[in-house]
Amino acid sequence: MKALRDGFGDEIIELGRENSKIYVIDCDIGKSCKTQPFAKELPEQYLNVGIAEQNAAGVGAGLATCGKIPFVCTYAAFGSMRMCEQIRQEMCYPMLNVKIACSHGGLTPANDGASHQCIEDIGIMRTLPNMTVIAPGDYYATRKLVKEATKIYGPVYLRFTRDAIPFVYDENEEFEIGKAKQLKSGNDVTIIASGSVLHLAVQAAEQLEAEGVSVRLIDMHTIKPLDKEIVRKALEETGAVITVEDHNIINGLGSAVCEVAAELGKGRVKRMGVQDQFGESGPYYKLLEKNGVTAELIAEAAKGAVSNG
């Protein structure tokens, strides 16, 4: 068990050591974004601009025009909304090499309640031209995808979550931005998951396998650009796709998959995720359960899709 934000903190300091162009810009929540070891060890590559996210975005863009690779760090709610227009105008439009690294995506700042949870960010970010949107599924995926994000030129939105979640991968797993990972092959039904609920999809798939259902499991760590080919194959070969995300079912992974299905004219999609309602304070898994996102319910949905097939 380890939190995605820890994956970011552990990776960014290594990247910063290797490359002095890597900068971190904090907005007074560096402790929560796990950037404080970076701040301490690499002060020349670190800025804390206080509770001023809009300015943080612009400062990041300015640094990028001078060849730096800044990571602007905040919570997903502020990173995707408070500074949304700055991201659009000063990063996406001029195609600048700035990374937005956000913790507290989805319902994971569970105790903090709705103001600090973020179920809209992926939808907002994937609407922006030139933006790449990544939601890693565990600690190791986070580390690798943060590193990969520094290898591509242009704005990248990286979405992490607050609380510790089980590992899906080990440290040797490799990732490529825009290329989904097929974790299980199967032909009856496909589960496509992303972000911090990937492990629930893994549990559901294991349960389904035990019951003799041939399930295909895909980690869609990159929401944009979406790996359309793997979605097309899933729709054509398994007929039914269940999407699972810790995000509003509107505009996130589920919608992205539906877009492919609609244009293809084949297959059925069932979206699982936050049911277009705000979160509240409470335990993370309780909040997910309220929205119908548990391993059992994912498995049930998959079986339902098979029997309807």
Partner: protein, 279 residues
């Protein structure tokens, strides 16, 4: 160059900038003349004297950078870039036309010499802060100049950026406010009073100068002072009192000329007045 000769030359350049900008707006039949004209003298001093640039190599790494945070007055920036040879002068006839490098608001991907894309107010100054930090940390002696409108200071982000500039001791950053007293919907005093901008920048911690933004001697003088004070560990702010529409009598201090193009007759009258130069 003798100071007097320099001042005379810069006044001449300012006249060329005004004529070029107005011609662009007239031909495009859209654009923002008022704020272009109020900024013209400051822009002449920047582009023909103060900024260290290389038109042959617009992305030269050691250049001074200029951020037009009030991006809507880009005709005056494009005029300066055209007259400095960043692109052929004839390009001015393409403002706001399909496929042009001269977009309605500055686009750094298309237009040589534009250091950052702007247009959404309040944002450019943050980018300027980022650039100035990068220059400092890279131990470059190049500087960053950011021009803002006074109406633009309504945006809270401006003050976020100023706080950061002060925190990081950016004495390589010069913030210039084109304080023409008018904004889109009316007088700043009516729409959103800025209060005394000199006091504001001072109280935020900037080394602040208040000048007449149409007096070329004062403009050149303030840039000289700023150069001499480099190393003061404070960002510089110049609050330049200006007149919106300056140089065209019927445009001066008239809100309407914020964002409309002159018609044929108005253009002819304006060009005749501009030819004479500022009184």
């Amino acid at each position: 160059m003798e100071k007097e000769a320099k001042i005379a030359l810069l006044k001449e350049r300012a006249k060329e900038l005004r004529k070029t900008a107005l011609t662009m707006i007239y031909e495009a039949n859209s654009g923002h003349p008022g704020g272009s004209l109020s900024a013209a003298d400051l822009m002449a001093a920047l582009y023909f004297d103060e900024l260290r640039l290389n038109p042959e190599n617009p992305r030269w790494e050691d250049r001074d950078r200029f951020v037009l945070s009030k991006g809507h007055v880009c005709p005056i920036l494009y005029s300066a870039l055209a007259l400095r040879g960043f692109f052929p002068y004839e390009t001015i006839h393409t403002l706001r036309k399909y496929g042009s490098i001269l977009q309605g608001h500055p686009d750094m991907k298309r237009c040589p010499g534009v250091d950052i894309s702007t247009g959404s107010l309040g944002q450019g100054i943050s980018c300027a802060v980022g650039m100035a930090i990068a220059y400092k940390r890279d131990k470059k002696d190049a500087r960053v100049f950011a021009m803002l409108g006074d109406g633009e200071t309504n945006e809270g982000q401006v003050w976020e950026a100023v706080e950061a500039a002060v925190k990081y001791g950016l004495d390589n950053l010069v913030i210039i406010v084109d304080n023409n007293g008018l904004q889109n919907d009316g007088a700043c005093a009516d729409i959103m009073p800025t209060q005394d901008l000199c006091d504001k920048f001072k109280s935020f911690g900037c080394r602040t100068f208040c000048i007449d933004g149409h007096d070329m001697e004062q403009i050149v003088g303030v840039f000289e002072k700023i150069r001499m004070e480099s190393g003061c560990c404070k960002p510089f702010a110049i609050v330049a009192k200006t007149v919106k529409g300056k140089g065209v009598s019927f445009m001066e201090n008239v809100v309407k000329w914020h964002g409309v193009a002159p018609n044929d007759d108005e253009y002819k009258m304006a060009m005749a007045e501009l030819e004479v130069g500022l009184k």
